[in-house]
């Protein structure tokens, strides 16, 4: 029997091997180093240091405190906000939803820098405003961002959107019938909310809490900007500090493992929490959820939602805008004092600007393209059960979710600074890092998209003699166009804001925008930071808007929660 040669098996093997190398290599080296002494022999000494030396124990405890607090704070903000947006007749609900998602475009470290401008105890704009209103003396401050509380607040600002999206989406999907039944049986509006809506939303909220916990635990940028001036470390900044001269990769690897193990455990817990959601959506078709009438509370609710949005969005951008046009960040600009000095400096004097913009753009474009194609291929194989063993691919594609950015950075550094593949110092190592980091979310988006395309179209193509790959290219891919574009866009945005892996892996020739901003932060050049941050956000917004037009989907709505920045 003569058949067209089907490439699917070699492709499967190649993809599986590629994924295995991408994940196993860095994690493998990480484990090897963690159990090695400085001289190279096998040893548990690193872990003894890790759990007895206060310079490691303190950051570990601090990190846990931060993660728990952020998680609780996020739920306390996101749950009511999500409910207001999804389940009530609050005015501006759509705008609030869009704006919460827009706040995700802000890299957390840029948010942290902006909040420094707002709430540094003496020069912070909000503290200055407070002093001028109350007449308090110069050294009294309302807010102190250089503190554990300040750091928790800033991380929460840029983490609650993830929880919000989960909660709002869950509430959208929740069947209205159960609530209808409740009210028909005589329950009052608030009783229904308390006894039906809240319990149904609880598993999602729990999952959201875990996402926030993970995000806060694995974040590098915000603590590096706020914790170090305040005189404390988190685990991620401590790991990063181990790369200062003389570098201690063994200790860095050992300190990375608790993050890795905790992330894996929490992701399992999250899967279990989300898995239980199933009972709420069993069988049949449901009506639109009913909107609760807020009555007189309508506008106060909208006001409250806007106040919440001021924290990650309105206030920080006002501060960045002010600094961009000001000689000294702590001074409020007027028409007379506004200056283009920072723009001139950033674009005509600072020699790193253009190379960093070029590297960032190149990496974002190539990572988005490679990542989206790889995710598409894997999602296809898994969704259509194209070959035996397809489940392994799905597992491998989601596995990087469990690797925090800074840990992946350390692992890749250890793996690719040696032969046979000495990639350190090239853009390739950053490409690998970014593809690995973004693959899980890309895969999850595309695999859900595949479920929406009926296989019979592909079967027709196959029956007419086309190979699997040909079918994929000619039939499936065009049908998935909008999902693929959304995924591409999502990766592009995520790469631009990535700092935690880049800060370990860059060299002077491969500096990206996020690292440049971080460098400028260390020398206190806030004017240039403000300009670059606004440029960064402008690029991101333009790309998202363009892709939304092309793809016709709401990209931001598909943002999947994962540790970043």
């Amino acid at each position: 029997m003569k058949r067209t040669f089907d490439l699917s098996r070699p492709v499967l093997i190649a993809v599986a091997a590629l994924l295995a190398v991408m994940i196993v290599l860095p994690v493998g080296w990480l484990v090897v180093y963690a159990f090695s002494s400085k001289e190279g022999g096998a040893s548990l000494g690193n872990f003894a240091t890790l759990f007895t030396d206060p310079t490691f124990v303190d950051p570990l405890i601090t990190t846990l405190i931060i993660a728990v607090s952020v998680s609780l704070l996020c739920c306390a903000i996101a749950a009511p906000l999500g409910w207001l947006v999804a389940r009530t007749d609050m005015p501006l609900a759509r705008s609030v939803r869009t704006l919460v998602m827009a706040s995700l475009v802000t890299p957390p470290f840029v948010g942290a820098i902006a909040w420094e401008m707002l709430a540094a105890p003496n020069s912070g704009l909000l503290n200055q405003l407070w002093r001028s209103l109350t007449g308090m003396p110069a050294d009294e401050a309302l807010l102190d961002i250089y503190s554990l509380e300040g750091l928790i607040f800033v991380i929460a600002c840029y983490t609650f959107p993830y929880v919000f999206i989960l909660v709002a989406n869950a509430l959208d999907r929740m069947p209205g019938e159960l609530e209808d039944a409740s009210s028909m049986l005589g329950a009052k509006t608030w009783d229904t909310a308390r006894r039906i809506t809240v319990p149904l939303a609880l598993p999602t909220l729990l999952a959201g809490a875990l996402v926030a916990f993970l995000q806060a635990m694995n974040l590098f940028g915000s603590p590096a900007i706020l914790a170090i001036p305040a005189g404390f470390h988190t685990l991620t900044t401590r790991i990063w500090s181990l790369f200062q001269f003389p570098p201690k990769p063994e200790l860095a690897a050992a300190a990375s493992l608790p993050l890795l193990v905790l992330t894996v455990l929490l992701l399992r817990a999250q899967a279990m929490a989300l898995g239980r959601r199933g009972y709420a959506v069993l069988g049949g078709k449901y009506g639109e959820p009913r909107l609760i009438k807020l009555g007189a509370l309508k506008w106060p609710a909208a006001g409250l939602a806007l106040l919440v949005l001021a924290m990650p969005l309105f206030l920080p951008y006002a501060a960045l805008f002010n600094s961009a046009f000001s000689r000294v960040a702590s001074r409020v600009i007027s028409f007379e004092t506004a200056t283009l000095h920072n723009f001139r400096f950033t674009f005509f004097e600072l020699s790193s600007t253009m190379p960093a913009l070029k590297n960032t753009f190149l990496l974002a474009t190539s990572t988005a393209t490679v990542g989206a194609l790889l995710a598409l291929l894997i999602a296809y194989i898994v969704a259509r059960k194209a070959v035996a063993g397809h489940r392994v691919l799905g597992f491998l594609a989601t596995a990087p979710l469990a690797i925090p950015g800074i840990v992946l950075g350390v692992g890749l550094f250890l793996a690719y600074t040696r032969p046979p593949l000495t990639l350190y110092g090239t853009l390739w190592i950053l490409l690998i890092a970014f593809v690995t980091i973004e693959l899980p979310a890309a895969y999850q988006q595309l695999s859900s998209a595949f479920h929406a395309v009926h296989p019979e179209l592909e079967e027709a193509g196959r029956m007419l003699g086309a190979s699997r790959l040909r079918t994929l290219a000619d039939i499936t891919a065009p049908l998935l166009r909008s999902a693929v574009i959304a995924t591409w866009c999502f990766i592009f945005v995520a790469v631009i804001r990535e700092l935690s892996a880049a800060v370990i892996l860059f060299t002077s020739d491969t500096k990206v925008l996020s690292v440049l901003i971080f460098d400028l932060k260390e020398s206190g050049d806030v004017g240039a930071i403000a300009v670059l941050s606004l440029v960064m956000v402008a690029i991101t917004t333009v790309v998202v808007a363009a892709a939304n037009r092309l793809g016709g989907t709401r990209t931001a709505g598909r943002l999947h929660a994962r540790a970043a920045g």
Binding site: S241, L350, S508, S523
Partner: protein, 346 residues
Amino acid sequence: MHRRTLLASAALLPFGARVVSAAPPPETITPALIEAARKEGKVSYYTAMDLSVAEPMARTFEAKFPGITVRVERSGAERVFQRIGMEYQSKIYNCDVANSSDAAHFLPWKRQGWLAPFVTVDMAENVPAEQRDPDGTYVNQRTHLSTIAYNTSLVKPEDAPKGFADLLDPKYAGKMVKGHPGYSGTIMTATQQIVQVLGWGYFEKLAKQKVLQVQSATEPPKKIEAGERAIAVDGSDYLFWMAKERGAPIQVVHAVEGTPMISNPMAVFKAAPNPNAARLLVAWIMSAEGQQFIVDLSGQYPANKLVKAKAGRPALASIKTLPEDAAAVEKQADEIKLKYAKFFKV
């Protein structure tokens, strides 16, 4: 011209430098060097100098020698040292010229044979012998100080600290900002010098004063100008002065115990990808013109004797400075970082 050459040989001979040193014969900026540099078209300059001085200097060099772009790679000296080390470990040779505020870095670099000897006539004749390597591998580019300073709108002159011991006064708690020796070469060098005079006990007490810990020695000037803290424990003096000359309410304090002095050596790397552009850049920076540019813009103290210090700044000789000892900094650097992290927690 003739007289200058004579003077130079007279200055060199007593040290026997000509006889024992491995330094190459002094060069000048020749059309051939410019042409070769232009063919390379670019040069990377790793430095710890504040961007507000380093970048304009680079742009001025580019205007003087069209066709050559300078990429300024600025970070804290300790970070620059770490980056070059990590790059060399992976056989990545990006660095053409390095300029560090931690003179100790040039000792291991020279020992490992990473530096290319390069001497210009300007260096041989006009830079004091103690400010350059006898083997011609590095030369001091400029000197600055790490000083105390305060914001005069937040601290009255009569309440201002006079020296390091004053900073331990409880009335200054929570009002100070300070750079980090794990990042900044200026702070590393200054820490070593202050420990010699006051011991670690001083830092242990200072750490209890709720000091705002920034990284670079270039940041305390920016933080007190913004009014975020009233007093800078340390920081690059030229930035305090530049801010003051711009109208910022800043007063520099030369500590009664003595002010740490920081030289900023510069070297061409042997594996430089752009060796000619590297030598041209170094030759120009060490020329009277290059030195004058640094002095005019920033008022740092020039290494080239032909260039006068900036008017309005205190003469270096009039300030009680602490002795700089690069070899000691090299030996004590790891201990300094450990002890510092122990007291200040970061």
